[in-house]
């Protein structure tokens, strides 16, 4: 597709349930990032995939969070046993090359609400 695609756009889930968020990056973009954004706040880094390298998971807030990227393309962010504090907009971005040269192209995000 022309841009970064995220699904679902909105997700309401009950506390304790697991959720999967999907990101389809721009074709050919080797780097993929997940951030989350709480209401009116900046973006908090979660995880970063670059090609075939081991992902940088340093931003994952707990072991309930995990992500994978299959075939160097689509990525899935999984949150197990969701808590109310997990409610946020989860943003995915991809980049064609070095971020200082290309910047990030973001998707529109998945708004997660845990009730």
């Amino acid at each position: 597709g022309a841009g970064v695609s995220q699904s679902p756009s909105n997700k309401v889930t009950e506390k304790g349930k697991d959720v999967e968020l999907r990101c389809d990056p721009i074709s050919g973009h080797t780097a993929l990032y997940w951030y989350r954004q709480s209401l009116g706040q900046g973006l908090e880094f979660l995880i970063y995939f670059q090609g075939n390298s081991a992902p940088d998971k340093s931003g994952l807030p707990s072991d309930r969070f995990s992500a994978e990227r299959t075939g160097g393309s689509v990525s899935t962010l999984t949150i197990q046993r969701t808590q109310q504090e997990d409610s946020a907009v989860y943003l995915c971005a991809s980049s064609l090359g070095p971020v200082q040269n290309y910047g990030y192209t973001f998707g529109s995000g998945t708004r997660l609400t845990v009730v």
């Binding site: 706040q41 670059q50 980049s95 070095p98 971020v99 200082q100 973001f106 529109s108």
Partner: protein, 112 residues
């Protein structure tokens, strides 16, 4: 602890006014980017500044990177309602990583 501090956090002005948004840190960044985000959308890259003291202009927007590469500013001349949005600065600590560190954002509202 916020590595990049933006100020002000919220700004409401009339069409035609000028404004400046600041992005400050005690850390040095190899480069810094500014993004603009509209409701329901992801941030969109506006500019990248790399060299200390660098000034870049994008129509009515002027971006400056501090000499010590620890701070940046965004100046908008004659603001328009279409400039309304959340402005985010984001720094790159090292050219070896693609990870951006974002400020908390400045919400700008330009009233007609």
């Amino acid at each position: 602890t916020q590595l990049l501090e933006q100020s002000p956090q919220f700004l409401s002005i009339q069409e035609g006014e000028n404004l400046t948004v600041y992005c400050n840190s005690s850390s040095v960044f190899s480069s810094l980017q500014w993004y603009r985000q509209e409701p329901g959308e992801g941030p969109v890259l506006l500019v990248t500044v790399v060299t200390g003291g660098e000034v870049k202009k994008l129509k009515r927007l002027t971006f400056q990177f501090g000499d010590a590469r620890k701070d940046s500013s965004l100046h908008i001349t004659a603001a328009q309602p279409g400039d309304t949005g959340l402005y985010l600065c984001a720094g790159i600590r090292s050219s070896n990583t693609g990870k951006l560190i974002f400020g908390q954002g400045t919400t700008l509202q330009v009233k007609p």
